[in-house]
Amino acid sequence: MQTKRTVFGNRLLPYALLLPQIAVTVVFFLWPAAQAVLQSFQREDAFGLSTTWVGLANYADLLQEPTYLNSLKVTAIFAPAVTLLSVGLGLVFAVSLDRLVRGGRVYAALLVWPYAVAPAVAGIMWWFLFNPTIGLLPYLLAAIGYRWDHALQPTDAMILVVIAASWKQVSYNFLFFMAGLQAIPKSMIEAAAIDGAGPVKRFFTIVFPLLSPTTFFLAVINLVYAMFDTFPVIHATTGGNPAQSTNILVYKVFVDGFIGLNLGSSAAQSVVLMAIVVALTVIQFKWVERKVTY
């Protein structure tokens, strides 16, 4: 692991410097995580009086439990949908901006600020827009014959949360794509133009391949966002409904553990989620290390 070639010689000082972070890390991260793992192997009785060791039974139950499988399915739709929508739109806006000679800064400033909005707030705003009684969008949709109601129709609810969750992520992806586009040397684009490639061909044969590290990186980041940071969106809008159709994994952990007080199952779900994060993080670090340096 890298250090400076010369270091200070103090023996105790480094420990003192590290103490605050390590203390908080151990008390609030590592210890609870260990607890979660432990709890996932235990089950409380109905009155919460005693706990027994049940090994992998909680995990086995998860795989049988229809609501969990439903959550898996819902998340498997939700996360990729959010990723595709926000990464796709981010790319479209970044490429459009890159094309312009003037006005770039203004457009960028106007597209970047949504990142500052909390997912919960974004959720409420779109919830308001889609409100079946007074929302503007259902009104417009009714004009073309579609009756929108996200409290009753599962597809509508999913669309609502996907849009609300993607809305602010577009800015983030837009920013990173812009940085990636600016990293492509201008002379390469000029060479491609002189080589007879028009704008569309240049995008598909030169720009997009060179953007692939950024695209991959953003795909992983967005998946993690969609799986974890979107809790507020669900909680503030649909609450997992109707009929569990928007009950993503991370929301279910909260409901089962905090509200349902089913500690063993919630802990097992947490551990599964942890494993998914670890897998995604490992993929991200491995791939980012391999990021091709041109």
């Binding site: 040397p185 002379s187 390469m188 000029e190 491609a192 133009a193 002189i194 080589d195 490639a197 091709v292």
Partner: protein, 350 residues
């Protein structure tokens, strides 16, 4: 036909910056023209206007007999070699070479032949399947040139292609570029800030300064007959010695010391006199003018003696084994003096 005609071309940026002012130049078919000058003189801007990468504010550029001001770079049938090579890093060398041909719909068999031919000429056949990042600087530069050659364009445009190479490589690549151009006979416009590259490569040199042409001519003509003090001090190494001088009745004096007399055709008054380092020679005592030696640079094949006449700094280029002393006397051949107007620096003809 691939002569290039540049007629009264100017480039003015928003905000009023004049990068190129009223430049006119006729480049013959097959000629190797070098645009040379210090940073900011407009040489790259001019090249990019020929390429179509910069818009032309006024004037016309014609390639062949076609005015190309409004023509896209891709349609001008030119090829460009960039300073940082601009190779496509995600494609193999073969694909880099083939890219331009594929975009123009050249049949695959033809692409194969042309790429093989260019690879052979540039000795990059072993690298065809490699990616650019696996190649050295010199090899990348050759691939960049290969990309230009396969297109069989009307003109080659070079934008300081050797600047990123180390000194030794620069010298050998210089020679290769020259031979290649002679062999292919394609009109070439080459931009550099290195006067040595300009001297060795060009059929004709174009010296640019502040967006304007200072002089156009064959390298040796420009060397021996610089049109201004700027050209005189830019071309040639060591730089030409320039000093204020007084002419009275045909006698040229620096700081009161007469260095030459009996000059015809020069009016009395103050002017700038130019002497090349190799035109100053040691003189026997009693002849010439006094010269105080400050320091000596040994180059091996040559010796540069830096000193002064009456406080004006002059550099002499001598053979290494000639005897030196702190105080010497030096002579200048009268017919080797150059005269320039004091204010404008323009050459005065005799």
């Amino acid at each position: 036909m691939s002569a290039i005609e540049i007629a009264a071309v100017s480039k003015v940026y928003a905000g009023g910056v004049r990068a190129v002012s009223d430049v006119s130049l006729s480049i013959a078919d097959g000629e190797f023209i070098v645009l040379v000058g210090p940073s900011g003189c407009g040489k790259s801007t001019l090249l990019r206007m020929i390429a179509g990468l910069e818009t032309i504010t006024s004037g016309t550029v014609s390639i062949g007999s076609r005015v190309v001001n409004e023509v896209d770079p891709a349609a001008r049938n030119i090829a460009m070699v960039f300073q940082n090579y601009a190779l496509y890093p995600h494609m193999s060398v073969y694909d880099n070479l083939a890219y331009g041909l594929r975009n123009r719909g050249v049949p695959k068999a033809d692409i194969d032949t042309r790429v093989a031919e260019a690879a052979r000429m540039l000795e990059i056949e072993p690298f065809l399947q490699r990616k650019p990042k696996q190649l050295s600087g010199g090899q990348r530069q050759r691939v960049a040139m290969g990309r230009a050659i396969v297109r069989k364009p009307d003109a080659f445009l070079f934008d300081e292609p050797l600047s990123n190479l180390d000194a030794k490589l620069r010298v050998s690549m210089r020679g290769e570029i020259r031979q290649l151009q002679r062999r292919l006979g394609v009109t070439s416009v080459y931009v550099t800030h290195d006067q040595l590259e300009a001297m060795t490569l060009a059929d004709r040199i174009v010296v640019l300064n502040g967006g304007r042409i200072e002089q156009v001519g064959r390298p040796l003509d420009v060397y021996h007959c610089p049109a201004s003090t700027f050209v005189a001090s830019f071309i040639g190494s060591p730089a030409m010695n320039l000093a204020d001088a007084e002419v009275t009745g045909g006698a040229v004096a620096i700081g009161g010391q007469t260095i030459a007399s009996g000059m015809a055709g020069i009016e009395d008054g103050r002017l700038t006199v130019g002497l090349r380092a190799e035109d100053i020679h040691p003189a026997a005592s009693g002849t010439g003018v006094p010269f105080s030696v400050r320091y000596v640079e040994e180059l091996g094949a040559q010796r540069l003696v830096h000193g002064s006449v009456e406080g004006r700094h002059l550099t002499m280029a001598l053979l290494p084994d000639l005897p030196l002393s702190d105080e010497m006397r030096v002579l200048v051949a009268a017919d080797r003096l150059h005269f320039f107007e004091s204010g404008s620096g323009r050459r005065l003809s005799r």
